[in-house]
Amino acid sequence: MRIKNSIRMLDAFFFKPVPITGMVRMRILVGLMLLVQALTLLPGLDHFFGPDAFVSTHSLYGPGAPHLRLIDWLGGSGTAVRTVLGIHVGAALAFTVGFFTRTSGIIAYLTLISIHHQNLTILNSGDTALRFALFFLIWSPSGGAWSVDSKFKTAIPEHPPWALRMIQLQTAAIYLFTALSKLNGLSWRDGTAVYYATRLWDFERFGFDPVFNSLTAMKFITWSSVALELALGTLIWIPALRIPLILIGTAFHLGIEYSMNIPWFEWIMIVLLVGMWPENRTFFPSLSRRVKSVQS
């Protein structure tokens, strides 16, 4: 009986149709992050890819590696780099506005992993998060509303949310795996980890004085970070805790964004937290009611 109930719950979790609001929201936000990520490549484009790059794919993989690398397949020149990046930006833009959403999503994904395969040494966790978010969005009906494809239809259809659920599970896994990995580290257990992280010169942005100069405060931040990450990886599935945890998690990422030079990663994590927002709750209820009354 219990097994049957669990299977029924899992079936509803992945396949019971829900309004596609969450998928549409994610399409727009992930699309915008793809464009931001492409911008971050521009300042060093010729040093990252192509004949003048600081690392070649031949050195990284050896000959004949099976990775999808469109830049190499187009000859590996500076023109090939610009062509692939140009196609990627065009596809990302089309995906954001929902123009041939699935096709543009697939093109954006293939060019994204080609760019990433071309130089693994410059990638960070934000790039990884963007890859899986885009990958699963391709399988969702994210162009079903607020898109060129739907002629900017605002009526929200319903659809099984399994692709969005995969993004949510991946998001929870990031927090859970990171927290568990940190619990293996001595400095996370003794409370000094954030002290070390804030003393890395290249990561400095703005300080929180006197917080950053108090070992007691550093210990509190260290332990509460791990506790929050554990909660975001597990307790976020409890409906009553979900919205408070999303809000605290967002504040946590904004705090890191303010104090540390870890570009765009925190924003991608905030986007993923937005993807955890419950389907039956709107961001701004009063505004949503007003829009609905205008429409009717």
Partner: protein, 181 residues
């Protein structure tokens, strides 16, 4: 249940199993049946991932890589890869991908297969003097280890002078320009 739904369920099960067996910090150390397939799945779909942000331990070195460039006439100059903390904040964010390559890949012994590329890159950044070509490039790691705060607490934003950084020459590449002019 339709075949499409069955296929999706099978995929969900495979993907979540791959996360547990290939990505989770408690993943098995030993080989297991299907490991190669799971790795291939992550690689071929572009879903490879590793979540180790400042874990299990945050990095404890303020480190950069320098190149000691030796010219044919014996002159030695130093080329320093971007040191982000010396740049304005916006530029620091834009240069982060250089730091990623330099600190997380280039300086590491296990990645010696990319040292020659990096050296060539450094050579391309140097002014060309046909009358006095570069003879060799030595790569040097320079670092300051952050001390345990219970022994020595450093204020946020502290710096140590370059003269106090530890240095280690980890590779030397000859350009083949050795010999008399």
């Amino acid at each position: 249940m339709g075949i499409r739904k069955k296929a999706i369920i099978a995929w969900i099960v495979v993907h979540l199993s791959v996360l547990m067996l290939e990505v989770a910090p408690f993943k098995p150390d030993q080989d297991y049946p299907g490991k190669r397939l799971f790795t291939l799945y992550l690689r071929s779909t572009g879903l490879w991932q590793d979540w180790s942000m400042f874990s299990p331990e945050p990095f404890r070195l303020n480190l950069h890589v320098e190149a000691r460039v030796r010219h044919q006439n014996g002159l030695e100059t130093t080329y320093t890869l971007p040191r982000l903390h010396r740049l304005p904040r916006l530029e620091r964010a834009l240069m982060e991908r250089y730091r990623k390559w330099e600190v997380d890949w280039f300086r590491i012994d296990e990645n010696r297969h990319i040292w020659a590329d990096g050296t060539r890159f450094i050579l391309k950044q140097l002014p060309v003097d046909p009358g006095n070509p570069v003879e060799s490039v030595s790569l040097i790691r320079r670092w300051h280890e952050i001390e345990d705060p219970r022994i020595r607490f450093r204020e946020w934003g502290y710096r140590v002078p370059d003269s106090e950084l530890t240095g280690f020459e980890f590779a030397t590449h000859s350009t083949g320009q050795t010999g008399a002019k």
